[in-house]
Structures are given as C-alpha cells and as structure tokens.
C-alpha cells in the first residue's frame, strides 16, 4: 500500500497481462531510440562533430585576427566579411558581443568552421535553419558544414553572455554563384585598405600620415571588436559612442568619487589597457572587456576616434 506496508504476497504477485505488455513495448521503444541515434551517424546528414582542439582565448584571437586580415574582402556594419574557399578552414570567433567575421559561403560546398570564444561561453545559433551549438573559450570546435539552401542567415547568440547578449548577431550569406552577391549588397565591397595588413605590431609607424593612421585605426576598431559595443554614429546602447568623443569631457567614476576627465590620447590608452580604472557614469553595468592592443594599434585606433568629430 502506498501508506501502509504492502499486502501479503505482494512480492510473488504475477505481473498483469496489460502491464507486462506495456513494459515490453516501452522496452522496445527504448532500444529503438538507442539504435536510431547510432544509425543516424551512418545514414543521417546532421551529426554533432567529434573534432575539438584545445586552445586558449589569446591564441584563438590571434588566429582570428590573422585569418581576417588575410582574407577579408570588406566590411558590413563594422563586421569584416570573408569569402572562404570551399573546403577550407574558416575561423569564426564569438566575443562580447559579436560574431566575426561575416561569411559568404557557396551552396552545396563543405566548409570546416573552427568556432571558439574570446571570453565567455556563447551559443552559436544559425537561423533560419535553426542549428544550435555551444561555444566555449579554450576549445576550438570544428564543425563541418554544408549549406543546403541559398539565402541570408544570421548567427544569434543563445547562451547568456552579459548585458549586450541580445545584440550579438552575426551573418552568413549563402550564394549559388557570384551573381547572387548583388542581392546582398556584397558586390561592391571595398577590400581592406592597402596598408591594412601593415598595421602590424612590430613595424615602425612613426612616419605614417594621419590619414594612414585613421584608415588603419578603423580596421583595428572593426577587427578587435570595439565595433561590437561602440558605435560611430552617435547611438548609445551598450557603450558610449565614439562620435565626438575625442576632446570632450567624460564623466567617470573610479569607484570612490565621480569626476570629469578630458578625453585625450592618455585617457583612451587607459580606457583600453585598464578598462576598470575609470568607469563612465551610466555604464557601470556593462563592463568593457580587456582587449590586447599593441602600441601601434592603440595609436591607430586613437587617431580613428579623433577623426570622428
């Protein structure tokens, strides 16, 4: 009995015909499901990959930067665009709060996507196809994809990654032939500035003109992910806009008091190297990530911010 000890002979009681029948059916269903999953690895076309490499966020970010510098063919709303060769290895990085780069893929071709995160755990959610994978920092998840339909796809983030999580959205365009590029406005992409690849870390850039610096700085802005949070058109959601920032006064807090501070080269430098030192009032909740910029890149991005008056 449910509340009393069971009645005499409960252990010997035969299982009723209908109950026995149900248990057998249920058992058969269980075995069926088990076998089905294994069979799908043989005959099915959608199976989570088994290839993972251990990496670390810094290493993967370097990989991403190098990959994008080498292959980008233009920019789409602050996100570099890459058109990888079919069958090639593609680097896709999630970071707070963007997916980079945007990709142009050919229908019915295979691509090896290496996906990892620069900071937190993210969720790769391909829409409208609706395929979802978990992305970690420190693990390079290699997913071999073959797009089966042409059209514009988005990559949402569906693992919570901080206050700007909802704004983390990337793009994949699937084309049948290059003629399709026009449909997506990708036919007139301007390739990276000529001296883009030379915004290298070691090179001496003291002789560069301001124009060169600004151009390279824009690329740093896009490549390093400043664009994920800071806009250049005056709109503010996650972080202060860069428009008109340079030369203005910022109201900041250092944890003890709030005060105004002049936005100049030195301030931008500390903003990047020690993001937590001065927190802009009104943005206490959205934390700026620490991004490693070389001295050259810092100089270039500062020139770029300066140019946005």
């Amino acid at each position: 009995m449910s509340l009393l000890a069971p009645s005499e002979g409960w252990f010997q009681k035969k299982v009723a015909k209908d109950e026995r029948m149900w248990i057998l059916i249920a058992f058969a269903v269980c075995i069926f499901l088990f076998v089905w999953m294994i069979m799908w690895h043989v005959v099915g076309r959608q199976n989570p990959s088994n290839t993972t490499y251990k990496t670390n966020p810094t290493e993967f970010a370097q990989l991403h930067d190098a990959y994008v510098k080498k292959n980008m063919i233009g920019m789409d709303n602050g996100i570099p665009v890459v058109k990888p060769e079919p069958g090639s290895d593609v680097i896709l990085m999630g970071q707070m709060w963007r997916w980079s780069p945007a990709l142009i893929l050919k229908k019915d071709e295979w691509y090896n996507l290496h996906i990892s995160s620069k900071d937190l755990v993210h969720g790769f959610s391909l829409q409208p196809s609706n395929m979802n994978f978990q992305i970690y920092p420190s693990y390079d998840y290699v997913l071999k994809f073959k797009p089966t339909a042409a059209g514009e796809c988005k990559i949402l983030c569906n693992e919570y990654c901080g206050i700007g999580h909802h704004a983390m959205i990337g793009k994949i365009v699937v084309i049948e032939s290059d003629a399709d590029l026009a449909k997506y406005g990708y036919d007139k992409l301007s390739a990276a500035p000529a001296d883009y690849s030379s915004s290298a870390t070691e090179e001496d850039i003291s002789g560069w003109s301001n124009e060169q610096l600004v151009k390279a700085g824009e690329t740093v802005y896009n490549l390093k992910g400043c664009s994920g949070c800071h806009k250049t058109d005056g709109t503010v959601q996650i972080a202060p806009s860069f428009k008109g920032l340079y030369g203005s006064k910022s109201k900041v807090s250092d944890g003890k008091s709030t005060f105004e501070i002049q936005v100049d080269d030195a301030y931008i430098e500390t903003s990047v190297t020690e993001p937590q030192k001065h927190i802009v009032v009104g943005f206490e909740k959205t934390q700026m990530a620490k991004l490693d910029l070389s001295a050259n890149e810092l100089k270039q991005v500062t020139a770029f911010i300066k140019s946005l008056q």
Binding site: S2, L3, D18, C30, N132, I163, K171
Partner: protein
C-alpha cells in the same frame, strides 16, 4: 511528544510537525517570489510590452530559476521527506537540534543567494557558467543551502532507520516512503556532485584558484542540475501513489514492478546529464549517445513503467469500487471534486504528454541540434517540473493543510478549480515556448529585435501568434499560482481550526475492496491511454526528425 491524529490515526511527533510546517512555509515564500519574477519575465519577452530593461530581465531570470527550481522544490521536498519518515511511520523525529541546524542553514543560503542576486552581484543565471563570475557570497549561499538540505536528507535516513529498528514501520516500507528513499539516495549523489563543483567555483571567485575550465564546469554542474530533477521525479511519483491511496484507497497493481522502477532511477539517472552537452565540443559521440540514453534508456523505461503503474492503480481501485463500465467509467466517475486528486491526474498528463515526449526527443544527440538553448528547452521543463512536480506539490498541500496545519481550506470551491487553471495556463505557456523555440527563438534573451546589434533577424511570422499565446498562458498560470499561494497562506494563518474528522473537506478513502477474481486485463483503460501517449510521441518524433533532416549538413 506525540499527538494522535483524530483523522488518520497516525501518531504525529510534534517536533516533526514543526519542521514540516517551517519548510513548507519557506517553500511557499520561494514560490511566491518565483512567480512574481515570472510574470515580469513573460511581459518582457512579450515584445509589445517589453517591460524590464536588459539588466533586470537577466537578473530576474536568474532569480526566477533559483527560487522556483531550487528553493521552492527543495524546501518542499525536505518537508515531504520529514512527513514520509515520521508521520507515515509513526516515528519520532530523530534530532530536533539538527533539524534546526538544517533549516537555519537552508534559510541562510536562501537569503544570501536572493540578496546577492537582487543587489546585482550575481547576474549569472542559475547555471553560472564560468567564466561568468558572481560575488563569492552568492556561491557561499548555494553551498550553505546544499549543506542544509543534505543534513535534512540525512535526518530522513536516520528516521527511517530508527523506524525499522524500533519496529514502528512494519516489515516492508510503504511504497510512498520507498519512493522517497529513492529520491533521498539520488539527493545524496546530487548534492555531493554539487559540492564538487561549487566549492572550487567559490574559491575561484575569491581569487584562490587561478582558472576554471568551462567545459569541465558545465559537465559537472549538470551532474547536479540534472540529477536533482530526478529527485523531483521520484518525489513526485511517490506523491502520485500516495494520492491514489488517500483519494481512492488504491495502490500500485503490482508493487514489485513499481519498486523496481524506483531502483532503475537510482541506478541510471546520474548518467543523464549528458543531454545538456549534446552539442558541445570536448566529449565524443560515443560518450554522448551512451550517457544521454541513460545507459540505453533504462531510466526512461522506469518513467514509462510508472506511467502505466500510476493510472492503473487508480483504474484498478475505481473498478473495485464498482465503476466498471467500459473503458473509462473509472475516470469519468473519479473524485474530481477533490483538488489533490485533480492536481495529480493533470500533473500526470502534463508530465507525460508535454514534458516526457519533448524530453526524450530533445535529449537525442542529433535532434538536440534544433532545440539546444532555444525557448523550447524551458518549454520542455515547464512540462516536467512545473506541471509535473509543482502541480503535484500544490495538490498534496491540500491534504497537508488539514492534516499537518490542522486548518480548514478557505474558499474550497476555488481550490477545486485552481488545478485546472494552473494546468491550462502552464500547458499553453509550455506549448507556445516549445513552438517558439522550434522556430529558433533563443532562451534567456532580452530583445528579439536585436537592438544595438550590427544586423537584425526576423523570425518566421508565426512567432507573433505564439508570443501572444505564451503571454496569455503565462498570465493564466500566474493567476492560478497566486490563488494557490493566497489560499494556502490564508488557510494556514486564518482558516477555521480542525476539530475532528467532520471538518475534513477532502475525502480520505477507505481501502478499496479486494478484487473478486479477474482474468486478463487489469487496467484496459490505462493501456489505451498509454498507447495514446505512445502515438503522440511517435508523431512528435517524426516531425522533429523531419525538421532536422531539412537543415544544413553538419558533421
């Protein structure tokens, strides 16, 4: 100190009664906090209203998850464990002092966690996947709560052992307590896993540990997160059997079968955490398939066994009471005016048809690709843990109020419709969340217009319909849950005192008469219902695999 219950005849230890009451009160408080947060979440995700800002949306999602899934359920389960190990066994509470220690630890943990979340120090979701980091006091709160709960579980074991030793319990434990023992064993395993993951995370948040591996964290965390759901299932199924007994005087038609199913839970459930990692890197397909299938679905099998055993225990009792016509007279003539009975039947239906079907399908390695981290996942566990566990707990409370709190239920008519309202509310909520998720809508996501992002995305236009449906279902469920909370609070504090059996509003059925003799089918109606369940499952199975097959190829 014992009192002898004038209604059931059980000897009730007054200490035990006190701890049951205290834990039950904390459970109700937690549920209230959870549903207030829930309604704000519903109206945030409903884009035409978009109530909260991003910060508060994520904060309250964290708050809702913890208060509902952890605090409400665990406090209630501790109350239930005390009930099952003392009152039911005529046993005295082994150590009131430790009872207090357990309770105080749990309340301290509860307060610490909730205060930290509300102060904005722990906007990390209940899963707190590293490297997201909360304030150390948040992790400490969870640890305190878990230690308190573990102590409570140990007291349960001590009571049961004492009862056996002092021969208060009879030769074999009653099925209800047997199920609770299964729940308690799983609880020990679960809480130990919890310690393995939360203690290093706590040290990490203090800066004493350099780094935590995100994949290892998620793996071990779900050892806690998933197994704890099996505690809920075991406790819930135990209450299903209990309610059949209280309302109809029946028991499982074959106790050996039901008891073996509980053993299967203990043996196989802990492997199941793999279904949270199906689309993650770092583990192999072989590991995933083996583990997610609960070592070949043996735990699923256990649930399917209960799916037959519970309704058939009702059917068999009803038939012996003379409701023997056709396939379904037993169901039509069931005591639907008894809110505990109604709750349990509706919980069974929701648990099976919504939670169970989707759970098995979403938990298969490949179909997980089309639902992982979408709104379909919370949709699924609204079926299991909300309609199933929560409604069951709500239902059995209608017995606890007169028997433990010794009060009449105020506005009893309302109690009779409350289970229906809650059932339909959550069912609509869950089904619309599942539909939205299958259309790609993410869970834990503040703005489906993606404001501030470089691009935007427009979902299939039918999402608008389901968003509205979800808002309506959520509101209905909120109202129903609020009715329940108010009714419980008002009854417990202001309801008329019970003076004797005549005040009992819910019938306590005498034992159903013994079967004459029967040949062949013992519960044909149940068999038809379970086959109907199987057919529903088959349809959903087919649809999901069809959708999967239409996506990009991936390997």
């Amino acid at each position: 100190m014992f009192r002898t219950c004038d209604i059931t005849g059980f000897k009730v230890d007054l200490n035990s009664e006190k701890f049951i009451r205290l834990n039950a009160v904390m459970a109700v408080v937690s549920l209230l906090l959870a549903i207030v947060a829930a309604i704000l979440l519903v109206f945030t995700r409903y884009q035409p209203v978009h109530l909260l800002d991003a910060e508060w949306y994520y904060r309250l999602t964290t708050f809702h998850g913890l208060n509902a899934l952890i605090f409400w359920i665990v406090f209630f389960e501790i109350a239930g464990l005390y009930f099952g190990s003392t009152v039911v066994l005529n046993q005295k509470f082994c150590s009131p002092l430790l009872g207090w220690v357990s309770f105080v630890l749990m309340v301290a943990g509860f307060l610490l966690v909730d205060v930290m979340i509300m102060m904005g120090k722990a906007d990390v979701m209940m899963t707190s996947y590293v490297p997201l980091k909360a304030h150390p006091l948040y992790y400490l709160g969870i640890i305190l709560f878990a230690v308190g709960a573990l102590l409570g579980v140990s007291l349960f074991f001590a009571n049961v052992v004492n009862a056996k030793r002092e021969k208060n319990a009879g030769e074999t434990l009653p099925l209800f307590t047997y199920g609770l023992v299964a729940a308690a064993i799983i609880a020990v395993i679960t809480l130990a896993t919890g310690a393995i993951i939360y203690i290093p995370t706590f040290l990490w948040s203090l800066g004493l540990i350099e780094a935590m591996d995100p994949a290892v964290y998620k793996l071990v965390w779900w050892g806690l997160g998933h197994s704890s759901q099996q505690i809920n299932v075991s406790a819930m199924v135990s209450i299903w059997y209990l309610t059949t007994f209280l309302a109809l005087g029946g028991t499982s038609i074959n106790e050996r079968v039901s008891r073996s199913a509980f053993v299967l839970y203990i043996l196989f459930i802990c492997l199941a955490s793999a279904h949270h990692l199906l689309t993650d890197p770092a583990t192999s397909s072989a590991w995933k398939v083996w583990n997610t299938s609960y070592a070949m679905y043996l735990a699923v099998l256990a649930s399917m066994i209960h799916a037959f055993a519970v309704p058939s225990s009702m059917e068999s009792a009803q038939r012996r009471w003379g409701f023997n016509k056709g396939l379904f007279e037993w169901l039509a003539k069931a005591p639907w005016s008894n809110p505990a009975f109604t709750s349990v039947v509706l919980a069974c239906i929701g648990f099976g048809f919504i939670g169970g079907t989707t759970g098995v399908i979403f938990g298969m390695e490949q179909t997980n690709i089309i639902v992982h981290n979408t709104l379909a996942i919370p949709g699924h566990f609204k079926g299991t843990v909300v309609i199933g566990t929560t409604l069951t707990f709500m239902g059995i409370t209608y017995y606890l109020i007169p028997l433990i709190f010794r009060r009449k239920i105020v506005a009893f008519k309302l109690a009779q419709i409350q289970p229906w309202l809650f059932f339909f509310g959550i069912a609509i909520l869950a089904v619309s969340m599942i539909a939205l998720g299958q259309l790609g809508v993410p869970r834990r996501h503040w703005d489906s217009s993606f404001s501030g992002g470089p691009f935007t995305h427009t979902f299939n236009p039918s999402v608008d319909f389901f968003w509205t449906l979800m808002m309506l279902g959520g509101s209905l469920a909120f109202i129903a849950a609020l009715i329940w909370v108010l009714q419980v609070v008002v009854s417990v504090f202001f309801g008329p005192k019970i003076t004797g059996p005549q005040d009992m509003q819910l019938p306590l059925s005498p034992l159903a008469p013994a079967a004459k003799e029967h040949k062949g089918y013992e519960a044909p109606g149940t068999l038809v219902l379970t086959l109907l369940f199987l057919a529903t499952f088959a349809v959903l199975f087919f649809v999901n695999w069809k959708w999967l097959a239409a996506t990009w190829w991936v390997k």
